[in-house]
């Protein structure tokens, strides 16, 4: 499961994306557990980012599939 990173999250992690080894569907909570295992530096960002799944903001009850494209969306500032 690929997780895209943007803006200052790229600088923070030194990565443009992270790959969570495939384990079947994940809840939002399960996703965060796996992600922070992989990259503890993101823990401080969790309260500030929204999750997107396949180009849409994720909902609390979502289950993420291994083929989904996930993204961490920090507060936006376009326009």
């Amino acid at each position: 499961m690929r997780v895209l990173l943007f803006a200052h999250l790229k600088e923070l992690t030194g990565q443009e994306h992270l790959d969570i080894p495939s384990t079947g569907p994940l809840t939002v909570e399960g996703f965060w557990t796996r992600l922070l295992d992989l990259c503890p530096a993101l823990a401080s960002q969790r309260p500030h980012v929204r999750l997107a799944r396949n180009w849409q903001y994720a909902q609390p009850g979502d289950r993420f599939e291994p083929t989904d494209e996930l993204a961490l969306i920090p507060p936006v500032s376009g326009g």
């Binding site: 200052h8 600088e11 903001y57 993204a71 920090p74 936006v76 376009g78």
Partner: protein, 160 residues
């Protein structure tokens, strides 16, 4: 008298929703031509990079996007608000990359029957864009004192 030669209302040929994300300058994009005889109001908003960002004097901002999601979100917002406010057509162009002070980062044009509908569309579109669309100002390029004979040097400040 040229009003006599006005065509007898051809079918509207406006694309109702036109979304573009580009690295190019968008200064030269002028008002969307519309020969839709229902249009009574054309509104255009340009958001320009200002010389001041967080109290600091800058010369440019750099924008980054999550491209496919930004495009989809810009389009979904346009479709929802077009329907809600019964507007006729909208065009949105967002520039990415380094945008110098005084140049346009975003251009929105909306055509509607009456001006109130266009005003409402534009206000709500920008409000929602500012919270929902995954585009970021990632870097500010500050104004530095000129160094005679020094090689060009790009220095930037990471935005929070």
């Amino acid at each position: 008298m040229n009003w006599r030669s006005f065509p007898q209302y051809p079918e509207a040929d406006m694309e109702p929703i036109d979304i573009q994300i580009t690295l190019d300058r968008i200064e030269d994009q002028t008002s969307a031509p519309s020969n839709d005889p229902r249009v009574g109001s054309q509104l255009e908003f340009r958001g320009l990079v200002r010389a001041e960002e967080n109290g600091q004097t800058i010369v440019a901002l750099e924008y980054e996007a999550y491209l496919p999601m930004a495009r989809r979100t810009l389009e979904t917002l346009a479709r929802d608000l077009l329907a809600r406010h019964r507007c006729l057509a909208v065009r949105v162009i967002h520039r990415l990359g380094v945008v110098p002070v005084g140049e346009t980062a975003i251009l929105i044009q909306v055509a509607s029957r009456h001006r109130q509908e266009g005003f409402q569309f534009l206000k709500e579109y920008m409000d929602q864009l500012k919270t929902e669309v995954p585009i970021w100002k990632v870097r500010a390029l500050p104004l530095l004192p000129a160094i005679p004979d020094a090689p060009a040097l790009a220095i930037s400040v990471l935005l929070p």
